[in-house]
Amino acid sequence: MLSNRGMDATSMNGGIDAWDGLVSRAQVGQGIYLIEGDETAEEVVALAYGLEEGSRRFYRELAGRCDAPEVRRLFETLHDAEIRHEDRLWERYRALPGSLADRRAFEEHVVAGALEGGLTPDRLLAGNPDAGRGYAEALDLAMSLETDALDLYLRMAAAFDKTDIRSIFLDLAEEERGHLEKLGALRGRGP
């Protein structure tokens, strides 16, 4: 059908059953993953900031739990990377007309509002106090988080196509892809 309309279309043989890689289970149109494409720039930047903060806390918590030193060091590196993502998002927010001048006020009001009712990664981890202690389990948890983040940012970029917001999410998606490569490399070396 797509080819008949002149599109450059290719079908993946075997579908998802043949896929031997990570899959995202981020749900369409629910809670924190609700994207309708009509959100304001402020709303989407705030949502992304909130997710990055959730990821930052996730890595801080996981670094504290994990028994494997090499994995712990990677989680600390990824924790610091999330802070840089937040810094970048804050700068994008500040460039918006009418933005708050105080970062704490932005976090407490704008970001909190965007995340209302949503389950961020750190909240998920808080509900599982024994999760993520072992080498493989910790990395698998982190890879699951990054896969969902990659998925979300790519879909956000697609939803905001033809706008300058798109570049925010493409940049973040590229970073998440890099995180996945680092995690995958460590996972591949372990038990």
Binding site: T10, I16, W19, G21, S24, L154
Partner: protein
């Protein structure tokens, strides 16, 4: 002949090749299309895949950027 269009074959690639194809392209430079049902999509989908169930594809073709290559599953 007119009827040949009905039998035109879509290009295909194996999953490993699809992975390499995607990794070699910047994010956002192609459309990854999931044509299954919402329930299947929520149980697991390739990161970044846009869901348009096959039964809706004809009426929702306008949602797909015709300038970008599409990889569907």
């Amino acid at each position: 002949m007119r009827f040949m269009g009905l039998f035109s074959r879509t290009k295909t690639m194996e999953a490993d090749e699809a992975r390499r194809w995607m990794e070699g392209r910047p994010p956002g430079s192609f459309t990854l299309l999931d044509v299954r049902q919402p329930g299947e999509y929520e149980q697991g989908h390739l990161p970044g895949a846009v869901l348009i169930p096959l039964s809706e594809l004809e009426t929702r073709l306008g949602e797909i950027d015709p300038e970008k290559p599409v990889l569907a599953y």
